[in-house]
């Protein structure tokens, strides 16, 4: 039956593809006196097998700091990166299991994060993405939602960010940008209209590297909203949050 065959093929592909791909795995030789295989990718999972110095292991996959390995006798388990640092490659060199470190932070290209804080008395949540053109200058796009007692707003911003000391662990920055702000007064208020205005901003802040791909960031921004009323508004914004970099 062709349909059955098709279903079977699809099933086989779905079930088997991630497991039995035709990939050849990286092989390393244990150089520590022994390495410990855990049943899962965390310290809390028990050690069920120990592989001795001189044995070859295949590395199947990685999750955070843990590597799933297969021994020559077919045992599969999870090994922490720290134990693989001493292993040897087929050419006899020490395998380089690089840890993401502060040096990677200063040479990063992409950065994505989430910030929360206060926008002129209302709660603000910001999602942003940035790209570093040089070590000192990056461009960012952000989307913020301001949730206040009387209205909520959406902000879309594009800004340039200057970072004079990219290699410092706590690295200050300043930012300059422009965007749009759309304000929707709450439904319980009468005679209030939605409106969209241009806005510009200047700001200062700092970033600090925490661990792996994790960065803490805090900033202050002063906005000028070019409102359709005669007077411009100048809301202040304080935010802090976390980001990851690649």
């Amino acid at each position: 039956m062709p349909i059955n065959a098709l279903i079977l093929t699809l099933l086989t592909w779905f079930i088997a593809a991630p497991v039995y791909g035709d990939t050849t795995y990286e092989k390393v030789k244990v150089a520590d006196p022994y390495i410990e295989l855990h049943t899962g990718p965390a310290d809390g999972y028990p050690i069920f097998h120990v592989t001795e110095r001189g044995e070859w292991i295949e590395i199947l996959s990685r999750r955070t700091e843990w590597f799933k390995v297969r021994t020559t006798d077919g045992k599969e388990g999870w090994v922490n990166r720290s134990q693989l640092e001493q292993t040897l490659t087929p050419t006899g060199e020490q395998a380089a299991f690089k840890d993401v470190a502060l040096s990677d932070f200063s040479t990063r290209r992409w950065e994505f994060g989430l910030l929360g804080g206060d926008f002129d008395g209302a709660t603000v949540i910001t999602l942003y993405g940035g790209y570093s053109f040089t070590a000192n200058i990056s461009g960012e796009l952000s989307l913020s939602q301001v949730l206040g007692s009387f209205s909520d707003s959406l902000l879309v911003n594009a800004n340039l960010l200057g970072q004079p000391f990219p290699r410092w662990r706590i690295s200050p920055f300043f930012t300059l940008g422009t965007g749009m702000i759309q304000t929707n007064p709450h439904a319980t208020l009468v005679q209030a209209e939605d409106r969209t205005d241009f806005a510009g901003h200047v700001g200062v802040g700092f970033r600090t590297y925490i661990t792996r791909r994790f960065v803490f960031r805090a900033e202050y921004k002063n906005y000028v909203v070019f409102s359709s009323d005669d007077e411009n508004e100048e809301p202040d914004e304080w935010k802090a949050g976390f980001s990851v970099f690649f």
Partner: protein
Amino acid sequence: MESRFQRILLIPSTYALIAALTCSVLWLSPVCAQEAVNNAQEPIIQPQIERREFKEANIDTEDFEIGVYAGLLSVEDFGTNPIIGARLAYHITDGIFAEAAYAQSDTDETSFERLSGSAQLLTDDERKLSYYNISIGYNLLPGEAFVTRNRVFNTALYVIAGVGSTKFAGDDRFTINAGAGYRFLATDWLALHLGVRDHIFDIDLLGEKKTTHNIELHGSVTFFF
């Protein structure tokens, strides 16, 4: 008969024999002479040298987890209804992960609306609820589930909390969420979750502003990639 003849011709040793015969007949030709020299120089056993560069980048990293969930959401004063959503998580360390989620649900009439007969607090559109949130989770209790004597599955009990926004009754409302979940890893790349979450937001629809606790129960299927 003809096919058998072809099969004989296709046997490699037959080829070698024919080549040897040809060479012995035409042994003066330079091609055959060269071949003989080459054969003499080749070692009998070819050492199998496999030079492979080790590249850490070749190792498949599976730090992301994507999936869908479905369950029940109880909205204070507005009844309990089915909810469906999607989630994306990034595992930062073996303990900590960040998760973004989006979900949609419907709500019922309040008891006030039902008793009064015709008074409607919300339009049909305002009665729909949707939320997004971004949360940080911590795998509090990693463990194993022994389904049979020889079948063991990895599990984890995690706690999670975060911030987001809920669109309900015509407005976006700042929302804090907190809860716990149980992750059951059917395979290394497929997980089943059971979770409970409290979504806390303020609502001023019924006269005065009050903080509401809205409990969600859900089950989820996720894939690591």
